[in-house]
C-alpha cells in the first residue's frame, strides 16, 4: 500500500516542514547499473518518496515526544528539551557536563594560535579583540533538563574557560566576556 500511495498519491498528505534535500529520480543506463549508482539512487529516491512517509514520521516523532520527551533529530544536530519546553542543542549541554575536562595541551594550543593571529594582525595595524561568548545552555542553565543539571560538575572546579583565561592572560589579549553581563 505505501508503494501504491507513493506512485499514485491517492490520499492527500501534508508535506513535512524542515530541511530536506530533494532527491531526484535516477535515470537508468548500463554504466549506472554496473557501477551500482542506479541502485543506490533508486533506493534513496524510493525511501524519500514512499507513500505515507510524512504521516509516519509525524506519528513516530509525536510518540517519541509524548513518551520520552525525545525530539526528532538529524545526526549532526541533536536537540534536547528542557523545562518549560525550552530547546537546546545537546552538544552545548554536553560541553557543560565536561566543562572542566578539556586537555591542557588543547588549551595551550588554542592560546598559541590566538597569539599568532594577534601578532599577524598587529603587523597590519589591526587590533585584535577576542570574544568568548557563552552558549544558550550556559546562560539559561536553569532551563536545562534535570538529567543534565544533575550531572553538571562541582561549581568549585575551574571551567575550561577559566583555565583558558589563565593562558590567554599571559599573552596580553584584549578579551571580552559577555558572560559578565548576565
Amino acid at each position: 500500500m505505501p508503494f501504491v500511495q507513493g506512485v499514485m498519491g491517492i490520499f492527500p498528505v501534508t508535506k513535512l516542514n524542515g530541511v530536506e534535500t530533494e532527491i531526484k529520480k535516477s535515470s537508468f543506463s548500463a554504466i549506472s547499473w554496473f557501477n551500482g549508482q542506479y541502485a543506490r539512487d533508486f533506493e534513496s529516491y524510493f525511501a524519500a518518496n514512499i507513500g505515507f512517509r510524512s504521516v509516519v514520521i509525524k506519528i513516530i516523532n509525536q510518540i517519541k515526544y509524548e513518551l520520552f520527551r525525545d525530539v526528532s533529530r538529524d545526526k549532526g544536530t541533536e536537540i534536547i528539551i528542557g523545562s518549560d519546553d525550552w530547546l537546546f542543542e545537546k552538544v552545548y549541554a554536553d560541553r557543560l557536563i565536561f566543562d572542566h575536562a578539556m586537555p591542557e595541551t588543547q588549551l595551550i594550543m588554542f592560546s598559541e594560535l590566538m597569539s599568532q593571529v594577534q601578532i599577524k594582525l598587529a603587523e597590519k595595524g589591526v587590533a585584535f579583540l577576542l570574544i568568548i561568548s557563552p552558549s544558550k545552555a550556559e546562560i539559561y542553565k536553569e532551563k536545562l533538563p534535570e538529567s543534565i543539571l544533575a550531572r553538571l560538575p562541582n561549581k568549585n572546579m575551574p571551567t575550561n574557560r577559566e583555565r583558558l583565561i589563565t593562558y590567554l592572560k599571559k599573552k596580553k589579549y584584549t578579551i571580552l566576556m559577555p558572560m559578565i553581563f548576565f
Binding site: P2, F3, W33, F34, N35, G36, A39, F42, E43, F46, A47, I50, F52, R53, V56, I57, I59, I60, N61, K64, L67, F68, R69, D70, S72, K75, K90, V91, A93, D94, R95, I97, F98, A101, M102, P103, S147, I148, R151
Partner: protein, 477 residues
C-alpha cells in the same frame, strides 16, 4: 538490497512472492533463481559474473568427480582442483589487501619501496557462498548425488534468503528440497511470523543499541568513561546478537515462504554455561560447517589430546580470520580458542560443574569482553578500549557522553534485549512446572500471533521510514 530496506519490503518481496506462487510448480525454481540473481546483482552488479562463472566451474567439476570411482586418485584430483579454485578466488578477494598491507609495513620498516596496489573490492557475501560451494563439492566427493542441472546448482548457491549473510546451508541439508518441496499455508504463515520477528529484532532492538555502541567505539578511547566503555560493549553484545539472529530469522522465514526448511542458526547463545556450549548455540551453521569440513578431516578429537587441542586452535584461528581480514579478528578467534581449550581441561579433570547462576553470567561476561576485539577497528583501539573498561589508562578527557546518549529507544531496547536473550531459561523453568501461566491455544494463539506479527512489522516499517540506511553487521563478510 537488504531485507530491512524499504525497497525489499515494499517492492521486491511482494512482487517476487506473487510471481513465485502464480507460476506453475515446475517453474518455481526458475522464478527463485531469477529473483535471486536479480537480488544479488542489484547490490553487486559486477560480481554476479564471478558468482555465475565460479558456479559453472564447480558444476562441471562436480560432474567429473561423480563419474570417477569413489576412492580413485582422479576423483580426489578433481576435488582438490575445485577447492583450490574456490579458495583462490575467496582468498584473493578477501585477503589480498590485508597481505599487501602487512608486506608494505615490513618494507616500510626496512626503508624499502612499498608495493603500489589498487585495492580489491570485496564481493558481497563471498564468505558465505564460498563455504556453500565448497560444501557442495565435498558432499559430491563423499557420494551425494550432484545437482540435476546447472540451474539447480546456481539456485543452491544464489538462493537469496541465505546468499548474503547465511545461514550457511550445507548441500546435503537442502538437496532434496531443491528438487521437491511442500508449499502450504502453514509454512507460509510460519515464514511470515519468523520474518516479522527477525525484522523486529534487527530494526527495533539492534539498530537502537547500535547507535550507542557505534558512539562508544568511534570515540577516542581517551574520551570514554569506564561506565561509558562498559555500556558501549554491552550494547554491542546485544546489537550483534539481535542483528545477526534477526537476519537469520528473516532468512529462515523467507525460506519457509518459498517452501524451504533451513536449519536453525542461533539457540539463545547468551544462556550458555561455557564457551563450548556457546559455540553450539551461536552461528550454528558456521560451527557445523567447520566441524564437518575442517575439524573432523583434521582428525577431530580422535588423535589424542594434543592433536585435538591443535585442531581446535586451527579451526578457531581460521574462524576468526574468516570473519575479517584484520589482526583483531584473528585475536578474537584465539580468544575463543583459549576458552574452549580451558573447557576441555576442565571437563577432563571431571570438576564439578559450576552452578548455572554463576556460570551463565560469567560466560556472558567473557563473551562480551571478546566482542571488543571483534568490534574495534584496530589493535591499538581494542587495547585502549580495554584500558578504559578497567580504568587502567588515563582518566577521560573530552565530551563523549555515552550515558547522556541513552534515550527512550535505548531504554526500551536494552531491557527487551536482556529479557529475550535470557528468557529461554525462564521458559525452560515454566516447562518443567505445570504451565501455571496462561498460554493461549488454538485460534486464540493464532489470532494473538497474527496481531503481534502485524504490530511488529508495522513498528519496524515505521522505524525504517523515519530513519536512514542500516546495514547488517555480518553484511560485510
Amino acid at each position: 538490497m537488504i531485507f530491512s530496506s524499504l525497497i525489499f519490503l515494499s517492492i521486491f518481496l511482494p512482487i517476487f512472492l506473487s510471481i513465485y506462487y502464480a507460476a506453475p510448480s515446475k517453474y518455481r525454481n526458475l522464478v527463485a533463481l531469477s529473483g535471486s540473481l536479480f537480488f544479488y546483482s542489484w547490490g553487486a552488479p559486477k560480481f554476479i559474473f564471478v558468482l555465475i562463472g565460479s558456479s559453472m566451474c564447480d558444476y562441471l567439476i562436480s560432474k567429473r568427480i561423480h563419474t570417477n570411482t569413489i576412492g580413485s586418485l582422479s576423483r580426489r584430483y578433481w576435488l582438490i582442483c575445485a577447492l583450490v579454485i574456490n579458495l583462490s578466488v575467496f582468498l584473493y578477494c578477501k585477503y589480498i589487501n590485508f597481505f599487501v598491507d602487512q608486506v608494505n609495513i615490513i618494507l616500510d620498516a626496512l626503508n624499502m619501496q612499498c608495493i603500489a596496489w589498487s585495492r580489491v573490492v570485496l564481493p558481497i557475501g563471498i564468505s558465505f557462498f564460498t563455504f556453500q560451494k565448497m560444501s557442495y563439492i565435498v558432499d559430491v566427493y563423499r557420494g551425494v548425488q550432484p545437482a540435476g542441472s546447472l540451474g539447480t546448482y546456481i539456485l543452491y548457491v544464489s538462493l537469496f534468503p541465505q546468499l548474503i549473510a547465511g545461514p550457511i546451508v550445507r548441500y546435503h541439508d537442502i538437496a532434496k528440497q531443491l528438487v521437491k518441496r511442500n508449499h502450504n499455508s502453514n509454512r507460509m504463515f510460519a515464514g511470515i511470523w519468523r520474518f516479522s520477528i527477525g525484522l523486529g529484532k534487527k530494526v527495533l532492538i539492534a539498530n537502537s543499541l547500535g547507535e550507542l555502541a557505534d558512539a562508544a567505539f568511534n570515540a577516542p578511547a581517551c574520551s570514554l568513561t569506564t561506565a561509558g566503555a562498559w555500556i558501549g560493549i554491552f550494547c554491542y553484545t546485544f546489537q550483534i546478537y539481535f542483528d545477526f539472529s534477526g537476519y537469520s530469522d528473516m532468512a529462515i522465514g523467507l525460506g519457509k515462504m518459498m517452501g524451504f526448511e533451513f536449519l536453525e542458526n542461533f539457540n539463545a547463545p547468551y544462556i550458555s554455561r561455557n564457551f563450548t556450549e556457546f559455540w553450539r548455540r551461536w552461528h550454528i551453521s558456521l560451527s557445523n560447517w567447520m566441524k564437518e569440513y575442517l575439524y573432523i578431516p583434521l582428525g577431530g578429537n580422535h588423535k589424542g589430546p594434543v592433536r585435538s587441542i591443535a585442531n581446535l586452535w586451527i579451526v578457531f584461528i581460521l574462524s576468526g580470520f574468516w570473519h575479517g581480514a584484520a589482526w583483531t579478528f584473528i585475536i578474537w578467534g584465539c580468544y575463543h580458542g583459549l576458552f574452549l581449550t580451558l573447557d576441555k581441561f576442565a571437563s577432563s579433570r571431571r570438576n564439578r560443574a559450576m552452578p548455572a547462576p554463576l556460570s551463565i553470567p560469567m560466560t556472558f561476561l567473557f563473551v562480551a569482553m571478546g566482542w571488543v576485539w571483534f568490534r574495534a577497528n584496530s589493535l591499538p583501539l581494542a587495547i585502549s578500549y580495554f584500558g578504559r573498561m578497567f580504568g587502567i589508562t588515563q582518566p577521560p578527557q573530552g565530551t563523549v557522553d555515552i550515558i547522556g546518549m541513552i534515550n527512550g529507544q535505548v531504554l526500551l531496547a536494552l531491557p527487551a534485549a536482556v529479557i529475550f536473550s535470557f528468557s529461554p531459561i525462564i521458559f525452560e523453568k515454566i516447562g518443567k512446572q505445570d504451565n501455571k501461566i496462561f498460554i493461549p491455544q488454538g485460534q486464540a494463539l493464532t489470532a494473538a500471533r497474527f496481531f503481534f506479527c502485524m504490530l511488529l512489522t508495522l513498528a519496524s516499517l515505521a522505524s525504517l521510514v523515519s530513519s536512514g540506511f542500516n546495514p547488517f553487521i555480518y553484511f560485510q563478510f
